[in-house]
Symmetry: C2
Subunit: 355 residues, 2 copies
C-alpha cells in the first residue's frame, strides 16, 4: 500500500472559498467569520431543499470571490449526507459545470479537495468542491424525526447546518489574482483507508472515526514528512473522538494533543449550546476550513495545517441490522505560499494568456 503521501505534479492553490451557515452556527464562536447565514430554512419548504440551497449559495460566493463565472470551472466535486447525495445534485444543478458526486460521509470535504487537486494537476485547470450538511435533514434521516425530540447522550454530536465551497486552480496567475499576502497551497495528499473497530453506537461517531484518523496520521508521520510546523486539524471528531485519537496515538508514542484541534470543537460553544460532544457533518469541516482556517492561512496568521476530514459509514438500515460503523480520514496538507514569490514565478506569462 502507498505509504507515502501523494504530491500533486503541478502546484495546486485554493483560490477562494465560501461558507454558508444556519442560526446556531452563526451564534457560535466563529459566527462573525462565515460569509452568509440565514434562518435554517433558507427560503425553502423542506429541509432537504434548504440544504441544497446552502450548496448553491456557497458555490456562488466562492465564484464571486474568485471573480469567475461557472463556465470557467472545469469540474465540480460535491457530496453530502442525504440519501443518494441529493442536496448536492439539486443545489448545484443550476451551475453548468461537469459534476462528479462523492460520498465520503463527513470526510467528503477532504475527499473532494484531494480529487480536485489530482484533477487540476492532471487534466484541467480549475475545479470546485462543495459539501454540506443540515441538522434537520440529517437528524430525521439517520436518527429520529426532529419533532420527536429524542434525548441525546453526551457522546452525540450536533450536525452542523452549513455548506462550504472551494475553488482550486493550478494557475499561479489565479493564485496571484485571488491571493492576499499568502495563498493556501495544497502540497500533500494522503487518502484514508476504511477502519472498523466494531463501534455500533450511532450516537458515538467520534469513537467510530478516531481510529481512522489515528491510522492516517500514523501512516503520514511514518512516511517521514516534516510536519513540525503544522497544526493538525480534524474535521468532526468532537470531544469524545479527539480524546480517543490522542489516546490511540499516545499508545504509539505520538504526542499530538498540544498541536491538534477539531473543527467540531471550534464551531460551537459547548458550554452554551446543546451540541454535546461538538459539531459534525460534511458542513462542519467545510465551513470551518473555508471561514476560519483558510482565512488565517491567507492572512499569514497560520503557516501550515494538516487537515483531516473524518467520516463514518452508516445508514439507518445498517444500524438496525447491527452492522458496525467503519470510519475513514483523508489528509490534506495546506501551506501558506507567499503571494510575492508567485508573482515572480509567473513572471514570463503574458497578461491574459492564462485566463
Amino acid at each position: 500500500m502507498q505509504q507515502k503521501p501523494f504530491y500533486p505534479e503541478k502546484r495546486v492553490f485554493i483560490i477562494s472559498a465560501g461558507s454558508v451557515v444556519g442560526q446556531k452556527e452563526k451564534k457560535g464562536p466563529l459566527g462573525a467569520l462565515f460569509d452568509f447565514s440565514g434562518d435554517d430554512r433558507f427560503g425553502k419548504d423542506t429541509w432537504e431543499k434548504s440544504e441544497a440551497e446552502m450548496q448553491r449559495l456557497a458555490l456562488g460566493i466562492a465564484l464571486r470571490k474568485a471573480e469567475l463565472m461557472d463556465y470557467e470551472i472545469d469540474l465540480l466535486f460535491a457530496g453530502d449526507l442525504i440519501n443518494q447525495c441529493l442536496s448536492s445534485a439539486f443545489g448545484l444543478m443550476g451551475y453548468r459545470v461537469p459534476y462528479l458526486g462523492l460520498f465520503g460521509a463527513c470526510s467528503t470535504c477532504a475527499e473532494g479537495l484531494l480529487l480536485a487537486s489530482a484533477s487540476v494537476s492532471a487534466m484541467c485547470r480549475r475545479a470546485a468542491v462543495v459539501t454540506s450538511s443540515h441538522f434537520c435533514s440529517a437528524e430525521r434521516q439517520f436518527r429520529y424525526p426532529v419533532e420527536y425530540g429524542g434525548q441525546r447522550p453526551p457522546t452525540a454530536q450536533w450536525t452542523v447546518t452549513g455548506a462550504g465551497a472551494f475553488i482550486l486552480s493550478s494557475s499561479p496567475r489565479d493564485a496571484v489574482r485571488c491571493g492576499s499576502e499568502y495563498v493556501p497551497e495544497i502540497t500533500e495528499l494522503m487518502p484514508g483507508c476504511l477502519v472498523d473497530r466494531g463501534i455500533t453506537d450511532a450516537a458515538n461517531m467520534g469513537a467510530a472515526m478516531a481510529p481512522a484518523a489515528a491510522d492516517t496520521i500514523r501512516r503520514y508521520l511514518d512516511s517521514g514528512v516534516d510536519s513540525s510546523s503544522a497544526l493538525f486539524v480534524t474535521g468532526d471528531l468532537g470531544a469524545e473522538g479527539s480524546a480517543i485519537l490522542h489516546d490511540l496515538l499516545r499508545a504509539d508514542g505520538i504526542e499530538l494533543e498540544a498541536r491538534h484541534t477539531d473543527c467540531g470543537l471550534r464551531v460551537y460553544d459547548r458550554t452554551e449550546s446543546d451540541a454535546h460532544a461538538g459539531g459534525s457533518g460534511c458542513g462542519c469541516s467545510a465551513t470551518v476550513l473555508a471561514a476560519e482556517l483558510l482565512e488565517k492561512l491567507r492572512l499569514g496568521q497560520m503557516p501550515d495545517i494538516v487537515f483531516l476530514a473524518t467520516g463514518a459509514f452508516m445508514n439507518a438500515l445498517a444500524v438496525n441490522q447491527g452492522q458496525s460503523i467503519p470510519g475513514i480520514a483523508h489528509l490534506i496538507r495546506i501551506k501558506a505560499a507567499k503571494r510575492c514569490d508567485l508573482i515572480e514565478e509567473k513572471g514570463g506569462v503574458p497578461d491574459g494568456a492564462d485566463r
Copy 2:
C-alpha cells in the same frame, strides 16, 4: 465550460476486470462471459450484505487476474446505489487500500474510471474501481418491499444484480504483462453535467437519463474528436431511454442509432425475462463492460468504444416530495492498444524497476 474532452497526461490502461452476477443475469445472453455467478444471496443473510459480498468478490477476481495484491493498488474508487453507499464500504473494508467513495447513481462506473484515470495520470500508479447494484436491496430501498410484488410499468427497468471491478495502471509494463493481443486504453474523458428535464416518474429512469446522455454526446461530437470508428455504448438507458436518446440526437441532426448499443439491452433477453425496458443499476454497465466489452477490446474483436454510463439522481423522499429526477452521463473513450507496440515502448525500462 470545458467543451473539449480531457486527455490524461500519461497513458492509462485497464489492465484487468472482474465481474460477478446473480442468477437472472447468468441466464441472460451474456451469461457465459461473467467471471462468477452465485445465487443472489452470496451466502449472506441480508440483501445489503450480499451486494457487499459481490463487490468483495469482483475486486478479488480483478486483482487475481492482474496477479496483484491489494497493497499494490494505490487508490480504490467505489460506489453503489444503497443509502450512504454502504455496499462499497462494507464490501471493500477488508482490502487495505485507500478508499474514495463515489456517488454518481448508475453512472458511478464511468465516474470511477474517469477519476481513476486522472489519479494514475497525476499522482499514483494503479487504481481500482468497483461498483455494484442488487435487485433486492435497490427495489426495497427505492420502490417497494420485494415481497409486495408491486406491478411494474413497461418503462420500468430491472436492477442488475452484479458487481464489476477494474484495475487501471499508467505503467506500460503492467499493460504488457496483463494484456492479450490488445490492451484496453482510456484515451479521452468527458464528465457529464446534471440535466433535468422535469421527469418525476420513478419508474421511467430511461427518460430521466436520456437527455443527459444526449447532452454529453453532443458536447463530445461538437468538440471535433473523430469518433467514426467507435461504437457508442450507454450504461442503462434501456429500450425507452435509448429510443429517446436517438430522437433527441436526431433532432440535432446526429444519427446515432446504427452505432449505438446499451448495456441494459444486452444483459437480459427481454422476450424471455421480466426485465421490461431492460437492465439498470451501477452493476449493469459495470458487469457488461467488464465481461463483454473489455474482453472484445482485448481480443481485437472491437477496436474502439465510447462508453457512457448514465445515472439518475433520486431517492424515495425526493420522489414523495414531488422533486424531478436529474440525470447525468459521463463519457470514457476506450481503445484497443496493440500490446506489441507497448513492448517496444517500454523497451528501455529495466526488468522489475516498474513493479
